[in-house]
């Protein structure tokens, strides 16, 4: 069963992505000869169900931001399929794409560079209304006031400039801008990573309130598992352009079957001075996405005891280990890559269940 086949709650997914790839060419020399490609997103498939929040986590450079922007066609995908409701996003022409933009919005990480310093807050929030001819004149003013109030800002702020606001307030302005066109789906691209912890909580609570009120669907990108744990229904873990684990938030934290997820979880600080937690320290650096390792992308840094030469030869499918729980690892049973197949390429350790953090995160 593929990761896209099941809808989260039985309904058709709002967004589905199949075999998405995005490569950035590496060019060299006077004639811009292409000498390679950075495989930022390397064959990724998933769906986002209506009304759910899909968390996407991974280190910087793992392709999570690129995935989000490719779905919105802010970047053109290299290959793969993207569907929004029943619309083939990749096939849309300029006019249809512009119409689709009303349904899909984005909230950015950087509260400074995401707001035009030369525009007033009112003009920023109003732009979407003008572009999609949703309101003009006094009606637009009223809508801007309403949007500002909805994100917890005073309507009088419409005449001010972004530089007069704090990071958290700027994020609220960005959220109001995204909401202005009444989207169904919002890619939240690390919306709280640049904020103080206390402000992070406020912005996350605001996003949750808005989701309830407007029946929004989120793709919530973060590099911090504790933030995602709070807001996401399901979580996709990315590493080197691939989804290596995709599960409900509960399953992911209870049963991090992917060794990479185990390492990420062990790095989440626990606010308990008595807890003596086991740490998994990854050795080495993330390999270059221009030349990802063969086989399993994670094998050079993997600590699974059954890791062997088969991991360097076989690209693990993202396969369902328990219902709705997809993991990219041929050493965690059950696996569709049989032990015989693994032995054939030189495997010496049979698959074996390995869950070092099970006790800690129970």
């Amino acid at each position: 069963m593929s990761a896209t086949a099941r809808g989260g709650n039985g309904t058709a997914p709002l967004v589905s992505v199949r075999n998405l790839k995005k490569e950035f060419p590496i060019k060299k020399g006077v004639f811009s000869r292409q000498v390679g490609a950075v495989k930022a997103v390397n064959d990724v498939s998933f769906h986002v169900a209506r009304g759910e929040t899909l968390g996407v986590v991974g280190e910087s450079g793992c392709g999570k931001t690129t995935t989000g922007r490719t779905i919105l066609r802010l970047l053109e995908p290299t290959s793969g399929e993207i569907y929004f409701e029943d619309r083939d996003v990749r096939a849309l022409g300029t006019r249809d794409l512009r119409a689709l933009r009303r349904d899909m919005q984005i909230i950015f990480q950087d509260p400074v560079s995401s707001l035009n310093p030369r525009m007033t807050v009112g003009a920023i929030v109003r732009e979407g209304l003008t572009i999609h001819k949703l309101a003009e004149g006094a009606a637009a003013d009223a809508r801007v006031s309403q949007l500002l109030q909805e994100v917890g800002l005073r309507p009088e702020y419409a005449t001010r400039y972004p530089h007069e606001f704090s990071g958290g307030q700027r994020q609220r302005i960005g959220i109001a801008r995204a909401l202005s066109v009444e989207p169904k789906f919002i890619v939240c691209d690390e919306p709280v990573s640049a904020l103080d912890v206390s402000v992070q909580a406020q912005v996350i609570n605001l996003l949750e309130d808005l989701q309830r009120e407007h029946n929004l669907t989120y793709m919530f990108i973060a590099h911090d598992l504790s933030v995602v744990e709070h807001i996401a229904d399901r979580v996709a873990v990315m590493y080197l352009g691939k989804i290596v684990q995709l599960a409900t938030a509960d399953d992911l934290y209870r049963e991090p079957l992917m060794p990479y997820t185990q390492a990420l979880l062990s790095a989440v600080p626990v606010a308990d001075p008595k807890s003596r937690k086991e740490r998994i320290i990854l050795s080495g650096d993330v390999p270059s996405p221009a030349s990802p390792p063969p086989g399993c992308v994670f094998h050079p840094r993997c600590h699974h005891p059954a890791k062997d030469v088969a991991c360097t030869k076989i690209v693990p499918p993202l396969e369902e280990k328990t219902p709705g729980h997809f993991v990219h690892c041929i050493k965690q049973p059950p696996t569709t890559v049989s032990w015989e197949q693994q032995k054939e390429v030189g495997g010496v350790h049979p698959p074996e269940r390995y869950l070092p953090l099970a006790a800690v995160h129970a």
């Binding site: 512009r98 995401s114 030369r118 999609h132 307030q169 909580a201």
Partner: protein, 297 residues
């Protein structure tokens, strides 16, 4: 994660409201050098604007070419008179008007061209950008003075309109470079991506998001550009293809006295002083603008 701090505690503006333009003006007024520059330039511009009311004589009138020629500065002719018996003070006052007008108009021409060319190259990018930049390199490799000599040979009697156009058409290369670089840097800013995500057209992104953010470097280039054109016009007048007689520009007044500087020193000194101080003040202002702009970013 409960919200521990009441929302009202953080939701207040950090500073009183002020537009970017207001901030720049205030920063310029706070510095002594740019404050002085603005005052001096303001006075010179006023002199130019009010020329007909403050000039004591008609700048082109030659009342008595025998008795009143080559007079040194005196009470009735504070800047003296020239070999045609014209009053140098009146000519310098009218010259302020003409020199500044030529400087400003020519700069408007080169700003328009430079901004349009640079913005298109930087925003569209790719092949078009590469081709446009190579063409620019070709233009940049021709010395402006050589072009001028060429023009002098082809059209010895340029009208003022043609002169403005010529100065404008040869002055935009450097600026379009700057604009292109800025657009290139800005077009991947997140607020541009946000506008794209909202469905903004390319034209809208260029007009609403990119160009307004280029105001600072353009303002710097414009200020320095006016100064440069004033000097160039003087150079052209010296070569004999500047502002035609009997009109007065600072350049051609200086030129009138250039042959006999030692004897008729007042003819070149006074317009020269005006020109040098204008150019200096413009440069000070331009540098201050650049400084304010860089400090902010």
């Amino acid at each position: 994660m409960p919200g521990l701090i009441p929302a009202s505690a953080v939701i207040k503006p950090a500073q009183p409201r002020e537009s970017p333009l207001g901030l720049t003006l205030r920063a310029l007024l706070r510095r002594r050098s740019s404050r002085i520059a603005m005052i001096v330039l303001g006075v010179i511009i006023l002199v130019g604007l009010l020329a007909p009311f403050i000039a004591p004589y008609d700048p082109a009138a030659q009342p008595d070419i025998v008795a009143l020629k080559d007079l040194p500065p005196s009470l009735s002719h504070p800047f003296g008179t020239d070999p045609y018996s014209r009053d140098v003070l009146s000519r310098v006052i009218y010259g302020a008007r003409l020199s500044l007008t030529i400087g400003i108009l020519a700069t408007i021409v080169s700003l328009t061209l430079g901004v349009a060319y640079g913005a298109v190259a930087g925003y569209i990018g790719g092949m078009l950008d590469a081709i446009m930049m190579r063409i620019l390199d070709a233009f940049l490799s021709i010395p402006r003075l050589l072009l001028m000599l060429g023009v002098l040979v082809a059209w010895p009697h340029l009208s003022i309109g043609a002169l403005v156009l010529f100065l404008g058409l040869t002055g935009w290369f450097g600026l379009s470079r700057i604009v292109r670089g800025q657009v290139l840097a800005l077009k991947h800013a997140e607020f541009v991506t946000a506008a794209q995500a909202l469905g903004a057209s390319r034209r809208r992104i260029l007009a609403r998001h990119l160009l307004p953010n280029l105001v600072s470097p353009i303002a710097v280039a414009a200020t320095l550009g006016v100064a440069h054109v004033i000097v160039l016009e003087a150079g052209l007048s010296y070569l004999g293809i500047g502002v035609p007689q009997p009109l007065a520009s600072w350049g051609n007044i200086i030129q009138d006295g250039a042959d006999q500087v030692a004897r008729l020193w007042w003819m070149s000194l006074f317009p020269g002083l005006f020109m040098v101080s204008t150019v200096m003040m413009l440069n000070i202002l331009g540098e201050a603008l650049r400084d304010v702009y860089e400090r902010r970013s």
